[in-house]
């Protein structure tokens, strides 16, 4: 592993037995796991290149237990790493050798479905898809749909502000969460929001969402549910250059159409997928767009007509529209299987997650191809075309010495490139440990210091998920100092009245 984690605290490790006993008193029965064999499944998350056994695993079942564990750890200076289903692709749930891994899997019930207010109140260990399953009998669904939705939990979605293929139209997690119960590192339980909209004070809900488990442990989530659209149809549009495909996306949005989903794949991704799924994708194109329209039949048919006209203007070489639900799902089956399909043609792959201004797509793809040659590693691109979120999949073999390091260096170059063209390091997977050391490519020291001051407001001892997101850990006292430039301020220049 190339990322340096905080040095384990020898004092804490020496007290391990005492800490485990204390935790057993808070979470009785099988809720505390301390043997190496049983802790092994928790040693990594979706970013499997990074592994670390935790000091102890705790699986609380109630808010009071979470509060008890955190209060104990706060009092005894023990670090805590929260974990949902462990599907993070950025190492957000990577354990610490001297820390408690706090698994939230037992918080798995749906507490309330309130159709009249169009919300569901769920525990954080409920999977994303289970929310939709719980409300679909009345035609409702939960909009954010990360591709791991069968496994990933709502708590993890809140931590990462997860997106999905439909988030251009329906928003990310942050736009679909109305309330939280959470436990601060001190053990204090607070409630933010509820079934109503917006904060009456500071929007702490907006800050906690996407905070990657660094600010608190969420124990209940109130999410917005929506009525499903009457119908959906998908279009499969092929282009002989990625420039043409990118221009077509811009034209569609420029025409005032926000599709429910708009995905792009490049030639290597198309071929990998087609061999795996046989979705009927054209193999003689450089870029393939899947555009999905959802709404009433009259709207969908109308917009498909307009998009077909646009694609003709954009030099599309193929354009097919699904004529049945089976065909629509087949169009998507390829895209949804893109990661496993790439997994078939390479022993390992490394999934990146930058976002770029869409107009920069040709430049970024060209530069990515050059980097691919430089590093001697193949790359396949899948792309949330509507919002500019790029997922280059770098193909490597971890059994070949040096290939993982090369893949990581290649990935870092791609992310720096995303920032260079006006984009960002991560669109939906989070910073975690993976992109932690790249944060200075996007943020100044002052930017990062201000973010860490906010962290201090929630976690004064820096015990919650340290080593993630921030490349350099500062003590809160040091960050809190105010530097007043007395007497050196050139303020008299400013017009005043």
């Amino acid at each position: 592993m190339s990322v340096v984690m905080p040095v384990p605290d020898a004092g804490v490790l020496a007290r391990r037995e005492e800490i485990v006993d204390a935790l057993r008193a808070i979470v009785p029965g099988e809720g505390v796991i301390a043997t190496e064999r049983e802790m092994r499944p928790y040693e990594s998350d979706g970013l499997t290149a990074y592994r670390q056994l935790p000091m102890v695993v705790v699986l609380p079942a109630t808010t009071a237990q979470v509060s008890g564990v955190l209060a104990y750890c706060h009092a005894h200076d023990v670090k805590v790493v929260p974990r949902g289903a462990g599907t993070s692709l950025s190492g957000g749930a990577l354990p610490l050798g001297d820390g408690v891994l706090l698994g939230m899997a037992k918080f798995n019930s749906i507490r309330e479905v309130d159709f009249e207010n169009r919300v569901a109140v769920v525990e954080p260990g409920v999977t994303n898809l289970a929310v939709t399953r719980a409300v679909e009998d009345r035609g409702f669904y939960y909009a954010p749909d990360p591709s791991s939705q069968i496994a990933c939990t709502i708590g993890g979605n809140v931590a990462e502000n997860s997106g999905g293929v439909h988030c251009l139209k329906y928003g990310m997690t942050t736009n679909n969460v109305l309330g939280l119960e959470m436990v601060l590192m001190t053990g204090e339980v607070i409630r933010l929001g509820g079934k109503h909209l917006d904060a009456g004070g500071y929007d702490l809900l907006g800050i906690v969402t996407g905070s990657e488990g660094l600010l608190g442990v969420v124990t209940e989530v109130t999410v917005r549910i929506l009525q499903k659209a009457e119908c959906a149809r998908a279009m499969l549009i092929g282009f002989s250059t990625s420039e043409d495909a990118g221009a077509c996306v811009a034209r569609i949005i420029g025409a005032g159409i926000i599709p429910g989903g708009m995905e792009m794949m490049d030639r290597p991704a198309i071929h990998a997928v087609e061999e795996f799924v046989h979705a009927g994708y054209p193999l003689d194109v450089e870029a393939l767009l899947i555009v999905e329209l959802d709404g009433p039949q009259a709207e969908v048919d109308h917009l498909i007509g307009r998009i077909e006209a646009i694609t003709r203007d954009c030099g599309a070489v193929t354009c097919r529209t699904s004529s049945s639900e089976e065909e629509r799902l087949l169009f998507w089956a390829g895209r949804k299987a893109a990661f496993p399909a790439v997994g078939r043609i390479s022993p390992d792959y490394y999934c990146m997650d930058g976002t770029i201004p869409r107009a920069q797509l040709p430049r970024v793809l060209r530069r990515t191809r050059e980097l691919s040659e430089k590093y001697g590693l193949r790359v396949a691109n899948v792309f949330h075309a509507g919002d500019g979120n790029l997922h280059p999949l770098i193909l490597y073999d971890s059994n070949k010495p040096g290939e993982l390091d090369r893949a990581e260096a290649f990935g870092a170059d791609i992310l720096r490139l995303c920032v260079e063209v006006g984009g960002v390091l991560t669109g939906e997977h989070g910073v975690g440990v993976e992109k932690r050391d790249l944060m200075p490519a996007m943020f100044s020291e002052a930017d990062l210091a201000q973010q860490q001051r906010l962290k201090c407001a929630f976690d004064d001892k820096g015990l919650l998920n340290p080593g993630k997101v921030f490349p350099v850990l500062h003590r809160c006292a040091e960050l809190g100092r105010v530097h007043v430039h007395a007497g050196k301020v050139a303020f008299p220049d400013i017009p005043r009245f």
Binding site: H196, L197, G201, G422, G427, V484, D493, I494
Partner: protein, 408 residues
């Protein structure tokens, strides 16, 4: 009269806050000052007037982003968007009519700092949901930025969310980037006539729970309806629901919505022009405008669970002479109360403690606004956390001390 500091650029703003820190002065951040009379009056030594930080610096309609100085007039931004067939989907309300300030004078910085929205909040979100990036000067006198200029981004804490609705008490925003979206091609409104508030909540819930994709749901009684506009002044209580989109879809969904609502009462529809005028009046709470018949009333804004709207209003009406306008399918209650010494705070806070949600004091005499909880009052851990968040940005209390809460 406090000093007014008028920075010309972000560097000047940094200098201004540094000056205030060094001289232990406090600053009230203002754009065009249209919302200064809302909430608690700040006790400050000088105003920091950001109107000079004006101008759109980037607008790429096909990327759905616009960047501008915080002092840029909203009207200028909306004109740019309109010319490109786009809009701010969160439909920011104009507080001008309600507060007796000139109409359409807000700046984008003020819109974001107050986390404004409008009737479309229930479908498209508030300012917070469209605020992509920011450069600002903290109360520590330090420049920082957060977010970016792309529509999908989870890099670092989402400080834009925190600054949205912080009323200038955490940082002075200098440059902002917002998400823009296509303007709907057309719109229509379905009117249900003669429902009382409780029944109207049910009708709106049925509409919102349908697949008609309703983008506005409001209710007013007959007296208030008469002040919304001639098109709905039918002498009866009215419940109005908006449908927006491409023409064939609006026609189809209007029919579908009427089928959903037929069991509730007599129906009527408004075409595009009338619908547009109606929702602008609802957005700006025109029935309670300072210059109108309710102009002397105290105005509170309550955000509650949609099904609690009527109940909250009923609790207030038991203790005060009040009129109501319900938006957000019942989740937003504008309450106009006859003036009393406590500005109706006991009635409003009583309703909130029973129904949940929160209330903000929007309009009241300045002398009384400092004496009640104008923003949501926190207790215990949340109050302490709020205090620590304020300290993380503004430990010396330079920016708008007391603007939201006494002592914060």
């Amino acid at each position: 009269m406090a000093d007014a500091l008028r920075p010309r650029d972000a560097k000047d703003v940094e200098g201004a806050v540094q000056w205030a820190l060094a001289h232990r002065k406090s600053l009230e951040i203002v754009g065009h000052g249209t919302k200064r009379s809302l909430g608690r009056p700040a006790q400050v030594d000088a105003t920091l007037d950001l109107a000079g930080l004006a101008g759109v610096t980037l607008y790429e309609p096909e990327e759905l982003v616009l960047s501008a100085g915080a002092g840029t007039p909203l009207s200028e931004i909306e004109a740019r968007l309109d010319a490109a067939g786009q809009q701010l989907a969160f439909e920011p309300m104009d507080f001008g009519p309600l507060l007796g300030a000139p109409a359409r004078q807000a700046t984008i910085g003020g819109v974001l700092a107050a986390n404004l929205s409008g009737p479309r909040r229930i479908k498209a979100g508030a300012a917070r949901d469209h605020f992509l990036g920011v450069a600002a000067v903290s109360g520590r006198g330090e420049v920082f930025k957060a977010g970016g200029r792309v529509v999908k981004n989870v890099t670092g804490y989402d400080l834009c969310k925190l600054l949205a609705g912080s009323w200038g008490t955490l940082a002075a925003m200098t440059d902002v980037t917002i998400k823009t979206l296509p303007r709907p091609e057309t719109e229509a409104t379905v009117i249900v006539v003669g429902l009382d508030a409780a029944r109207a909540m049910q009708a709106m819930a049925a509409a919102m729970g349908s697949s008609c994709d309703v983008s506005g749901a409001a209710h007013v009684d007959a007296d208030v309806a008469a002040r919304v506009g001639d098109d709905v002044a039918v002498g009866r209580d009215v419940t109005v629901l908006r449908i927006e989109g491409v023409a064939p879809s609006v026609a189809h969904r209007t029919d579908a919505l009427m089928n959903v609502l037929r069991p509730f009462g007599a129906l009527n529809t408004l075409g595009e022009a009338q619908s547009r005028a109606l929702w602008e009046a609802i957005r700006d709470v025109v029935p309670f405008a300072a210059g109108g018949p309710a102009g002397k009333r105290i105005v509170w804004r309550l955000s509650v669970a949609p099904t609690k709207g009527a109940a909250a209003a009923q609790l207030i009406a038991q203790r005060a002479d009040a009129e109501f306008l319900y938006d957000w399918a019942g989740g937003l209650v504008w309450a106009a109360l006859a003036p009393t010494d406590d500005v109706g705070a006991a009635a409003v806070h009583g309703a909130i403690s029973s129904c949940g949600g929160h209330a903000t004091l929007i309009r009241a005499p300045a002398a009384l606004r400092a004496s009640v909880a104008a923003f949501e009052a926190h207790t215990g851990g949340l109050a302490a956390l709020t205090r620590r968040v304020k300290d993380a940005f503004d430990p010396r209390g330079v920016l708008g001390p007391g603007r939201m809460w006494a002592g914060v």
